[in-house]
Symmetry: C3
Amino acid sequence: MGDPNNDAQGMTIVCWSGEIDKVWPQFILATTGAAYGMDVTMFCTFWGLFTLKRPEVKVTGDNWMTKMLGMMNNQRLSHLNFAGAGPAMMRSIAAKHKVAPPEELLETARELGVKLAPCQMTMDLMGLSREDLIDGIEEPLGAAAAMSAMQRSQINLFI
Amino acid sequence: MGDPNNDAQGMTIVCWSGEIDKVWPQFILATTGAAYGMDVTMFCTFWGLFTLKRPEVKVTGDNWMTKMLGMMNNQRLSHLNFAGAGPAMMRSIAAKHKVAPPEELLETARELGVKLAPCQMTMDLMGLSREDLIDGIEEPLGAAAAMSAMQRSQINLFI
Amino acid sequence: MGDPNNDAQGMTIVCWSGEIDKVWPQFILATTGAAYGMDVTMFCTFWGLFTLKRPEVKVTGDNWMTKMLGMMNNQRLSHLNFAGAGPAMMRSIAAKHKVAPPEELLETARELGVKLAPCQMTMDLMGLSREDLIDGIEEPLGAAAAMSAMQRSQINLFI
């Protein structure tokens, strides 16, 4: 755990949400910060881990998140079609409006050196291993390491 | 882009939500901060831009937000009745409980010098121009300017 | 109101949400911070106040939150079964996956000295008094005191 640090100049975004209207600001803020030279970490946890999951990997069956979701009678998973039918339509709309779609922002984030860090605890709960996640990201982090990143950051956001 | 600044004493609230139970804390925190002398910016983006839209202006038809909303099969817009039937009832409930309704908090925020800044990118996506927004607010800001405000702030929140 | 403080090393979490998938990160981040020696305050407001309510206390009838909820045509209350049928199932799932359930995290938070502070304004609106809340928590705080806690904190999150 790093010392709390008042020279902190970085940004840590706890990316909890997987719904596209929140994934968008996660990436827009992260890439804007990185473009201006900030050290940026996206800590992808809970539904936000879906952003780093390979599209072909399914989360199924007997696991904690699935049960919790059932208990909540919640439609969140239906929104997580980030890598499904959405992108083609999104690309055409974004092109028309000259706004980058999330898929492109993810690529831009990697190019700008944004650290995309999956949450180890969420991976365990969802039964995902490192190979189920996309390439070009950080090693999984625990809550303590995420806390340490926040202590080094001047800007901390939970999205 | 301002330098990261460890003498930062202001507060920036990224006002992403337009649902009334989140608009309320956006304004309560902003006005409380301003009342105690903090330099406060509310950066109104995504659904949060609805707070700054003139009630008579409709967002219709062929635009990105509308399509995204349809894709999400989401009922958020139905919650954004901030300026519709809600206020009269809200005023009566708030008066009974001695809590200011959002409309009054918006007025108080302006009086206390809270900077209400619309997000330029959201305006573009929703097809809104400056004249579609209420009076007494800042010029539209891009993501870089919002980042700069956050770098000058000791407290940053995404609501 | 304390001075803004650049030696700020604490963490304040504005715990606005009462849905279990957000209560979880509220407590995981709070207890992780406290375990590493940070001064942590959880300011429990709006739906987040449900976390501090005694399970047997019902919020009923003619009050502001109930009306607001009806206006929003919102199913949030159905998610707030934190103290209902959920815990038994949660305990078994959490035990299987070696993750502490919220009930246990609440106990851990108290043991680690996390300050659990109910929002006075929310209590007024919901018609709750101090006796309706669980033991071992702070005295109710107003928005100004919450702001002061944020000014003393290096990490501020709205969850």
